[in-house]
Symmetry: C2
Subunit: 327 residues, 2 copies
């Protein structure tokens, strides 16, 4: 931040570009191409105040370009659903399972939102067959895919699967965020969208928030330029892998190959709410699968491990394990 401020001009204190600082976009575009395999340049990349604002902006942009219906993975994050619902698009739930979104079940909608690298709350990676089918569905039908890549930098047992966006850049609006890479409170997210949407994205941003805070962006640009973000990512991946291993050794997890949480399925008859309440009483904040579903789905809990150091995690797992096995 000091280095960024030293270099900043007086004009850097004004509102600035609704697409975000050019310095940051210039540094971030090659980072994303390198680490997520995206097809991106400074013109198709926009900065937003975290991925929630990016989601709302993309949803409103699609709406202004004539889209009316958006398929969403069910279950998927209830806050994502709430943000998308507020945009005015009509949401159409489509089942998601341990291979990700059930692409074969997609109805005739204008767009779909999906997290191919690691779905929430099931933690699924979209299977190769479904990836191909999804791209085919979008390209052949002139439809849009919103790729919500909120923790795709974290894959533990092999190199991360590249973003879907690279397969069909004209049919994908890609959304990412600095939250899992650095810290959620930084509130920097980004979109990569086909250039035909750029003007609308800028207009929606100006009406929503006018512009993003530039000093944080300049600091992040400097952080990337110095190689700190790459280094931080390598370190975080190693640390999170140790935490993930600890959870996966103790609990019967699925969705543990990537991301910052695992899914623990519960027997069908389990009262998910009761498990969440009991965990809360033991001082453990969990999320639930049914708590994030629109339709009827099997119960389960979501165990996030990224924010807890190993000793904390060990204590939590010792308390949680009998609760889960008891269910």
């Amino acid at each position: 931040m000091r280095a960024a401020l030293r270099r900043a001009a007086d004009t850097d204190l004004a509102y600035g570009d609704p697409f975000g600082s050019r310095e940051l976009r210039t540094r971030l575009a090659p980072f994303l191409a390198r680490t997520r395999g995206t097809v991106v340049d400074t013109e198709t990349l926009s900065i937003h105040a975290g991925s929630t604002q990016a989601l709302g902006t993309i949803a409103r942009t699609l709406l202004e370009h004539g889209a009316k219906t958006l398929a969403v993975e069910d279950p998927s994050h209830r806050w994502r659903t709430a943000t998308l619902e507020a945009s005015g698009l009509e949401l159409v739930p489509v089942a998601a399972d341990s291979d990700g979104l059930c692409v074969e079940a997609l109805p005739d909608v204008d767009a779909v939102i999906v997290s191919p690298a690691h779905s929430f709350p099931l933690g699924a990676a979209l299977s190769p067959v479904r990836r191909r089918a999804l791209v085919e569905w979008a390209v052949s039908g002139d439809r849009m895919i919103v790729e919500h890549d909120y923790d795709g930098h974290f894959r533990y047992d092999r190199a991360p699967t590249a973003a879907l966006q690279a397969l069909a850049p004209s049919n994908v609006a890609y959304i990412g965020t600095v939250s899992p890479l650095l810290a959620p409170t930084i509130r920097i997210g980004w979109t990569i969208a086909p250039s035909r949407f750029s003007e609308t994205i800028g207009g929606v941003t100006m009406r929503t928030t006018f512009a993003q805070p530039r000093l944080d962006q300049l600091a992040l640009a400097e952080f990337i330029a110095r190689g700190y973000l790459d280094r931080g990512l390598r370190r975080a991946r190693a640390a999170y892998k140790r935490r993930r291993d600890l959870v996966a050794r103790t609990l019967p997890t699925t969705g543990a190959a990537a991301g910052l949480f695992v899914h623990v399925p519960l027997p069908q008859a389990t009262d998910e709410d009761r498990v969440l309440r009991e965990a809360r009483a033991a001082g453990i904040a969990l999320d639930g699968v049914r708590a994030n579903a629109i339709g009827f789905v099997d119960p389960g809990v979501v165990v996030g491990f990224a924010a807890s150091p190993e000793p904390t995690l060990e204590r939590a797992l010792a308390a949680l394990s009998p609760l889960i096995r008891g269910a």
Copy 2:
């Protein structure tokens, strides 16, 4: 920022409260009470990403509480109009003149947005008679006033008029911003709203942007605690007064008693666009009155002086003066 980061806990890096950091609200509430006369505590104060986001959040909050129609000063800032229009409220333009909003012309609407300290683009302060009438209109009819106090800290020839909010805290949602106090790119704004709206404001914020960046908020809290914001305000007021005086000596201004711009009326037959174009050709960015109007209004230009040091301002005024007099 260094001091704020030194004190920050690990948990300060998580998403945090949609109402903004408690540290900042605890420091900002007495600052606003002292400098703008608002009735405010940490529970009625919320932090937003600048006043544009605050405007959208308040508009959507009113809508969720049953409001359908919002009267807007005509002329008023076109970007404000665009933000409010995007919220889903139906906007009803009401004339504004050199005494501010024509309160006597208010139709039967659910709410009104007004900048009583210094309207844009006319630079008017709402007259005492109209202030009283507006409060009476709101209280007697159970209606809401949105007080958009974007530059009310700057009054040059006497102490600032206190915010209208103090006269009817239950019927006013107050909006302010750090932009004129520090710098626009910081993107911190605030609302003071009756507590019956709090839950909705939190919900709208979570769906729009989830939470605001906390490190900037902690830094601003520290900045206020050290007395820097009060000191900066005194300095800025003195500097801006010199710049304002310079403009007012050179051009036939109105609306120069407060704020960071003056209004220069043009003769009725003037082609405002041509004046703006000619100024732009001379390297001077002006805004226009008609450019910010919904209905038919007299032409005029808006000369912002806050961001230009005096030598720059002198050169600009030397180029601008013949253009204005020529019109």
